[in-house]
Symmetry: C2
DNA sequence: TGCCTGCCATGACAGCTGTCATGTCGGTTA
DNA sequence: TAACCGACATGACAGCTGTCATGGCAGGCA
């Protein structure tokens, strides 16, 4: 039996996936959690063979949780499960030590199949997404640029960002300008949107 | 047997829900679609008793599809299923003739229960969400204000919006200003974000 | 009819934003 | 060592943005 653990913040989806995987004759759902913070504590108790982690969760996100889980339980394979096929997510998932990456658009059989393959020691990645990831490349931002964009994500003004990061307003404007250039946007709001879509934040 | 139809753009979630509902002894999933445009054509063929519609879908959104479905098949009950518990969605779902409203955060049993209740002629609404919906109230925007916000959703400049809506730039700025005041935001980017969160767009 | 209210439209003006030229600092190369 | 490069920081300037005062127009009401 493959012992599977599920982490997803949407109880309905989590429950439905658990039911579906539980029907497979060689699988057993041994734990379900709804936040990123619960992943490692629960996993160390139940010692699953495969952990399915959603990227979006309250507390730690799935990618952070994946890295910590790999450190705590090296024998446990991780599959990242996500709504959005953002190229940046795939890159970060792989560097976090994930063995698989499945988009929620995929047919159900693909998830079941992915669990088996990953358990057998293989890596599973959506081919279309892998191609997009390569063509889109990794984040072109410098550390400061990403910080500045993050601080402005909720619509804060230049003055707000400057105060939070202890920078002059001119500097903040300059970083925005660089980000706008790199994303091909025309305003910082658009730059933030594009960066978020590509998983660069 | 209650004949259920599922509409959700995420194949994995759709499949898992179908499996889960199919296990209930008194239910039968008779159709699954992945876009809003397929809802009515498929429903007229299979004539389900209950239709579960996600709000976010390619093509028509779930709320629009719900209204059309009510018109085409008055006997078919509609449950709106959504990731986000935005108050505005609930209001719009109800005025579109939906009989139920379930958030994806709910436990799985609640969905199964909702299908049965709705089939029995009852209305099903998440109580917490209903309360929030009442306190948050309906959209405070005028038609023009909503149009202007919608046109600026993807980060377009004032000049872009003005060109699309055939208005002077001054007028567009004025509508933005009103929206900023009504949402309590400080920039139009923030106003757009707030309006979207509340389901006012 | 006259008054009032709410929505829409416009332009002027102060202030914020994005761009650019410039300078510093640490790491790399000739 | 000197030259070079990239990242970070700053301030000046032109242009865009949000606010405000103003006016037209349709609907409700005494």
């Amino acid at each position: 039996m493959i012992k599977v653990m599920l982490a997803d913040d949407q109880a309905l989806v989590r429950g439905a996936l658990a039911t579906m995987l539980g029907l497979e004759s060689d699988m057993e759902v041994v734990a379900q959690v709804g936040t990123g913070d619960d992943v490692v504590p629960t996993a160390t108790q139940v010692k699953p063979d495969v952990a399915l982690l959603d990227v979006q969760m309250p507390g730690k996100d799935g990618l952070t949780a994946a890295a910590e889980l790999r450190a705590a339980l090296p024998g446990c394979r991780v599959i990242i499960l996500t709504t959005f096929g953002r190229p940046g997510y795939l890159t970060r998932a792989m560097s976090a030590g994930a063995a698989g990456f499945v988009v929620k658009d995929s047919p159900p059989e693909q998830l079941v199949d992915a669990v088996r393959r990953v358990h057998a020691g293989l890596k599973v990645v959506d081919p279309a997404l892998a191609a997009e990831s390569l063509s889109s490349g990794s984040s072109p931002f410098t550390d400061r640029e990403r910080e500045v964009l993050l601080a402005a994500k909720d619509g804060g003004t230049v003055a707000d960002v400057a105060k939070v990061l202890f920078l002059s307003e001119g500097t903040v404007r300059n970083h925005f300008s660089a980000a706008i250039g790199k994303t091909g946007a025309r305003t910082r709001a658009e730059a933030v949107r594009i960066a978020e879509e590509r998983g660069w934040l």
